[in-house]
């Protein structure tokens, strides 16, 4: 008989007790005058009679008529309330714990044919062992009668040979799977926190090593499979609660990491962003282990009942666990703000200097006067506070440019930097590498980069309609073109080269330049007239060019 319902069915069908099964009509017998001693005697008697197997004590079946009576009081009138049952369970636990050695038991509530029963599964003694009451009496049962064990009986028990343990019993298989899952879930999660690559490299050896250690200790301590399984079952809720505490911690750590860029001005990549997922895997591993561990002993219904009865009995533990979860979540949430405040493990930006148009000049150039480009060189200096104990080797600082022109690091101290560009070559940010040799807590890096500007925002450029002055017989045309450029920016303008018109080397220029200079030159290659100019703030020019445009151009 493996399950509680099978035991109850057997008793109701056969209407008798056995050496390993006793029935009681009411749970209130635990609290009746003389009840605790009688219950203790019964527990000891059943445990001593159930050699290498389970014994059963059933509350809720009349021991004369063997009828189901359920959870009634001693007068068989009122139903015993659930709170009282919990108290009786605690009393029973105290009674069982005072036997020598303590009898292991499992308290189960079972609903059978619309009646509620309490079925206590009692672990039977092992060969060579026996149980005594707190008064030193060893009881045992023959059929449904209880007897006092004399010296001869006790000597007989002590001389019993060891039972051959089934190496492949369901309990031992479940225990091995449980231990393995625990030794995978917890150490692998810890290894992953240190370095994810360590899991693949050292995960299996560590699990095997720990497994070997457990097996060795179990062998040296002469732990029995059943005892180990029972201990594991007993401690499983604690392990589950402890492992579950990682989940809120991991989730809040992720939230804390999200705060880092806003607080520090920097970004860094870390595998810890996946901590919630890994903590869930670890928790699932433990849950799967617990499920397998309990599989040989109970059904899902019993498990549900056990959980339902375990929770009211451990409210204090659950409250403490909830407090611990809150503290863990609070601690992990505050990691980044705290670290950022004290600059202990991660760097922080202290000061950023942005010098726009750092040389005071905006450049305008173009291969065609209708397609001009304006740009300026900027400079940004980032001052970084280096941490006391660097935990992050490289961080990313966002620095975006809209120009593909060459950008470069012009100065750095205490920190190394490399430019991060997009596929088009535009600057996106800086990778900063902590220089471990530096003794200063302050480092800086200065970067020079270009910005493309809207031409119309820095200068007004007007090309008037070209005039055809005359046409020659060889097809050459004499053209007059006037254009005006004014500096409307708060900086100087450097204009040029701007390729204006294709011409022969004969040309005339009339110009009126204020606050600057303008020069029109001829380039043999391509026969181009081009403009070079510098205009101070508020400067401007009006230029008229008369040139000859050959027919072949």
């Amino acid at each position: 008989m493996r399950s509680e319902s099978e035991v109850v069915a057997w008793v109701l069908e056969n209407r008798r007790e056995t050496e390993t099964i006793e029935v009681k009509r009411s749970i209130e017998l635990i609290n009746a005058p003389g009840g605790p001693d009688k219950i203790e005697e019964t527990i000891v008697a059943i445990a001593n009679s159930a050699l290498g197997q389970n014994g059963w004590l059933i509350f809720g079946i009349d021991n004369d008529s063997f009828e189901l009576v359920g959870m009634l009081d001693l007068k068989m009138k009122n139903v015993v309330p659930r709170e009282t049952r919990t108290i009786r369970r605690q009393q029973f636990s105290q009674i069982a714990s005072r036997t020598k050695p303590s009898v292991s038991f499992e308290w189960n509530e079972l609903s059978y044919q619309d009646k509620e029963l309490i079925i206590v599964r009692i672990d039977g003694r092992r060969p060579g062992e026996f149980f005594q009451t707190s008064k030193g009496t060893a009881w045992y049962r023959i059929n449904d009668h209880t007897y006092f064990a004399d010296k001869i009986q006790i000597r007989r028990w002590l001389g019993e040979p060891e039972l051959e343990e089934q190496s492949t019993s369901p309990v031992s298989t479940a225990l091995i799977i449980y231990v393995l899952l625990c030794l995978v879930a917890v150490p692998w999660a810890a290894l992953w926190v240190l370095d994810p690559s360590q899991v693949a490299r050292n995960g299996v050896p560590i699990t095997l090593g720990l497994g070997f250690l457990v097996a060795l200790v179990a062998h040296l301590k002469q732990w029995k499979t059943e005892n180990m399984a029972e201990w594991c079952r007993e401690k499983f809720p604690i392990l589950l609660l402890a492992t579950a505490s990682i989940v809120p911690g991991a989730v809040m750590l992720q939230l804390s990491l999200l705060l880092y860029p806003a607080l520090s001005g920097l970004y860094f990549e870390t595998h810890l962003r996946d901590a919630p997922l890994v903590s869930l895997y670890a928790l699932l591993g433990i849950i799967a282990g617990g499920f397998v561990l309990n599989l040989p002993r109970m059904s899902l219904t019993q498990a549900r009942q056990n959980i339902a009865s375990w929770i009211p009995d451990h409210t204090r533990l659950l409250k403490r666990a909830a407090s611990a979860y809150f503290l863990v979540a609070l601690a992990t949430t505050s990691i980044i703000p705290f670290d950022n405040f004290l600059v202990l493990g991660t760097p922080r930006i202290g000061l950023v200097e942005s010098r726009y148009v750092s040389d005071g000049v905006i450049h305008i150039s173009g291969t065609d006067y209708s397609k001009l480009e304006a740009y300026a060189v900027n400079q940004q200096t980032v001052h970084v506070l280096l941490p006391l104990v660097p935990l992050v080797s490289r961080v990313w600082y966002p620095l975006a440019s809209n120009s593909t022109r060459e950008c470069k690091v012009i100065r750095m101290s205490g920190i190394s930097a490399s430019l991060d560009k997009d596929q088009a070559g535009r600057l996106e940010g800086l990778w900063l590498f902590a220089d471990k040799t530096t003794v200063s807590t302050i480092a800086f890096v200065a970067v020079s980069y270009y910005s493309e500007l809207n031409v119309s925002s820095v200068a007004t450029i007007t090309f008037h309609k070209a005039k055809l002055l005359q046409s020659f017989d060889n097809g050459t045309q004499q053209i007059q073109q006037t254009f005006e450029i004014s500096n409307i920016s708060p900086y100087s303008l450097h204009i040029g080269p701007i390729y204006l018109f294709q011409s022969t080397s004969q040309f005339e220029v009339t110009k009126n330049v204020t606050s600057g200079y303008a020069d029109i030159s001829y380039m043999q290659e391509g026969h181009w007239l081009y403009l070079n100019s510098d205009l101070e703030r508020y400067g401007g020019m009006v230029v008229t060019v008369t040139y000859n445009r050959p027919a072949e151009l």
């Binding site: 405040f341 004290l342 202290g350 000061l351 200097e353 942005s354 506070l385 302050i442 800086f444």
Partner: protein, 156 residues
């Protein structure tokens, strides 16, 4: 009723932690030092000058002002002058208010000539500012803006 060992241990640990945190926080620079490298020309009746370089850095010492503007020996003349300069540093455009710092550059030598050196000061800035550095020359009540510089800064 005495104090338990646990309470004593917790208090001791908290004290050590608080002291460590306070010490570490003291090590973190919170001020911005602005160092202005000047080159100044002093005539008998006029003054000019330029801001050769502006350097900003994080600092935590309490030195408020540093001035080593001195006469460049090779440019020394025997004529005297009462021209002096005023250095103005203004940081504005922040929700936490403006910072304005004004400093008179008054060389101890009363001679005309070329003066050079660095004036630095500490600013307690937080947030995003535009820092303006303006150099004026002053002579007989006339104030002339001779050089200026600005840059955008952001402190965390």
């Amino acid at each position: 009723m005495g104090i338990s060992r646990t309470v004593l241990a917790v208090v001791a640990i908290l004290l050590v932690l608080a002291t460590s945190i306070a010490y570490q926080h003291e090590q973190i620079p919170t001020l911005v030092e602005v160092a202005v490298k000047l080159r100044l020309w002093r005539g008998t009746g006029y003054g000019s000058g330029s801001l050769e370089d502006i350097t900003l850095r994080l600092a935590r010492d309490t030195r408020a002002t540093f001035d080593n503007v001195t006469l460049v020996p090779t440019q020394e003349y025997n004529y005297t002058s009462n021209v002096h300069w005023r250095l103005l540093i203004v940081a504005n455009e922040s929700a936490s208010g403006n910072v304005e710092w004004e400093y008179e550059v008054l060389p101890s030598a009363g001679k005309v000539g070329v003066y050079a050196g660095v004036v630095s000061t500490l600013l307690d800035l937080k947030g995003t500012y535009t820092v303006w550095v303006v150099l004026y020359s002053i002579h007989d009540g006339s104030i002339l803006n001779v050089s200026s510089f600005s840059e955008r800064i952001h402190t965390y």
